[in-house]
């Protein structure tokens, strides 16, 4: 996978991710959330913002099952699911991520998912999602 690049507005999100905290940027004046992070609230134009930590649960808003390796390095990951996840408590904000630990044929719009972190190295962790258990049960050990 290509490694992400950050600027002054987005680096805080990546630093939180490294510590396994999934956050969304929230305007401290009007409360509106925005993702990806940016320097100013598009609603009230305030530049004051904070990072809201999320529980990591959400619902699949839309998705695709990728069956072609657009990079050679991805061939061994095929097929994989890219999804836009609408996160609980994020004020409607959606994030692009993956649904993992699932048969791609079992993914659908509306599927409830939960957060699972993947450490890509000491400096980088990526938030991915897996289907949420429908009933209380034993928790897995990540991936």
């Amino acid at each position: 996978m290509p490694m992400p690049a950050a600027n002054a507005e987005t680096v805080g999100w990546w630093e939180a991710a490294r510590e396994h905290r999934l956050v969304v940027q929230r305007c401290t004046v009007c409360g509106r959330t925005r993702h990806p992070p940016g320097p100013i609230c598009p609603g009230c134009r305030s530049t004051a913002a904070e990072w809201d930590e999320l529980a990591g649960s959400g619902v699949v808003y839309t998705y695709t099952v990728v069956r072609q390796a657009f990079l050679p390095a991805l061939a061994d990951r095929l097929p994989y699911v890219v999804a836009a996840v609408e996160l609980d408590g994020a004020g409607g904000a959606r994030m692009v991520s993956n649904v993992v630990d699932v048969d791609p044929g079992d993914v659908s719009i509306g599927l409830r998912v939960e957060l699972v972190w993947e450490d890509m190295g000491p400096e980088l962790a990526l938030p991915r999602f897996r289907p949420a258990p429908t009933a209380p049960g034993p928790t897995g050990a990540g991936r």
Binding site: M1, P2, M3, P4, A5, A6, N7, E9, T10, V11, W14, R34, H35, P36, P42, Y61, T62, Y63, T64, V65, V66, R67, Q68, F70, L71, P72, A73, L74, A75, R77, Y80, V82, A83, A84, G92, A93, R94, M95, V96, S97, N98, I109, M120, G121, P122, E123, L124, L126, R128
Partner: protein
């Protein structure tokens, strides 16, 4: 764009029109190896100027789009233009800017900044990195030829706003536009019941149009619905032939005033209207933003452009004889047809299924050159070329008596559109 009060500068005689079109050969990806992409740009400019009956010495303006590598300032110097009086590049990303570049040229002509502006676009994808891999990302530099992941992934400093934005999509494998727009169609299918066969209708219909066009890259590759459905899945719901070509080639169009056009070799095609822009919160489009309102997400994002386009042109979708609709992906043609008002919201699929897009008998013959799916992917400037040919009566799928043509640019990014008319 027409209708300014009369006067020495901005009278009706300065109304902009299209007087020349030109192109190089179009080939499959990597098919052109004897000239550079830049040489193709120069060649297409020369062809369009020649088609108009003008000389390169008449050209005093240049316009392009899509972060064109082929800088207008170098073009002007290398072609020996007597003086460069106008140069612009649209901010609309990728193929969103084709019609905007023409509209910008038209505005330059109408405001007397220049007399003859050439809009050009060259794409030799075989000579450069493929699209969709992000600006300056680490793909080339950090992944070894064998494809191994770099040993210690780390955050890098973004060199552009776009690079910082795609950092929120690319690490999750959303590399190419096919993946991003497959997600849009998935949502559209979920909401409206759009089907694979309806997307296939776009692909199969435009392939049939391409069969009549000697320039078309896929002109000799007939395709049935069965062929379409049997092709491999790229990113669900997109199969191979839902995705546009990747190819080599260049084209250009010439914009000048109706007054100047009167002395030229081809009938002038009027620019009846032009519009560009993006909806609130649409950002760079669904490729980098997925948080826009649901109605905008599952759309071409062109409703605002369409409203202003029809208002400015003084006509509506019912008045259009032929349409050249940007087709990077078959399904997004359906969404554009909805946004521009040819059918209701969610009805793009059934509209295509009815046979409306087919030449010669459809209600709205669409992409009569074969489009980006089957003629060539020149970021949609070839759609403008085809619109001009239709209104001159020179298309290989000529719509009888065509007097009006809608040309649209890329759906799913901030975009633009034109209404062209026969004088």
């Amino acid at each position: 764009m027409v209708g300014h009060p009369g006067g020495p500068v901005r009278g009706r005689h300065r109304a902009p029109c299209l007087v020349g079109v030109g192109e190089t050969e179009y080939t499959k990806w990597g098919g052109i190896t004897d000239r550079s992409e830049y040489q193709l740009a120069l060649e297409a400019i020369g062809a369009a100027v020649g088609d108009a009956g003008l000389a390169l010495d008449d050209v005093d303006g240049l316009a392009s789009f899509a972060e064109d590598r082929n800088d207008a300032t170098f073009v002007a110097a290398d072609l020996g233009l007597p003086e460069l009086r106008y140069a612009s590049m649209s901010w609309l990303p990728g193929g969103g800017g084709a019609c905007a570049a023409v509209a910008n040229a038209a505005a330059a002509v109408e405001t007397s900044q220049a007399e003859v502006v050439v809009v050009y676009r060259a794409l030799c994808q075989g000579q450069f990195r493929r699209f969709g891999r992000g600006p300056g990302n680490a793909v080339g530099s950090k992944v070894a030829p064998g494809g191994e992941r770099p040993a210690v992934p780390r955050l890098r400093r973004a060199r552009s706003l776009l690079e910082a934005h795609v950092a929120f999509t690319m690490p999750f494998g959303m590399f190419g536009p096919p993946i991003a727009y497959a997600m849009v169609l998935q949502r559209h299918m979920h909401r409206f019941g759009t089907t694979a066969e309806q997307m296939g209708q776009v692909a199969v219909t435009t392939r049939a149009h391409a069969a009549r066009n000697p320039r078309a890259v896929m002109g000799r590759r007939p395709m049935t619905m069965e062929d379409y459905l049997a092709a491999r899945m790229v990113s669900e719901p997109f199969r191979l032939f839902d995705c546009c070509l990747e190819n080599d080639g260049a084209c250009a169009v010439v914009v000048t005033t109706v007054e100047r056009a009167a002395d030229l070799s081809q009938p002038a095609v009027e620019i009846l209207g032009g519009a560009q822009g993006a909806l609130q919160g649409f950002g760079h489009g669904q490729y980098t933003n997925v948080g826009m309102p649901d109605d905008d997400y599952a759309s071409a994002g062109a409703r605002g452009v369409a409203t202003r386009l029809w208002a400015g042109a003084g006509i509506g979708p019912a008045d259009i004889d032929v349409a050249e609709v940007y087709d990077h992906f078959s399904g997004l043609v359906l969404l554009s047809l909805e946004d521009f008002g040819f059918c209701d919201r969610g009805e793009g699929g059934p509209f295509a299924e009815s046979g409306a897009l087919g030449w010669p008998d459809g209600a709205l013959p669409t992409n009569t050159h074969g489009g980006s799916l089957s003629e060539a992917y020149i970021h949609g400037l070839n759609h403008v070329v085809e619109g001009v040919r239709q209104l001159r009566g020179q298309s290989t799928c000529q719509v009888a008596g065509a007097e009006t043509c809608l040309v649209t640019s890329a759906a799913g990014v901030p975009t633009s559109a034109l209404v062209l008319g026969r004088p």
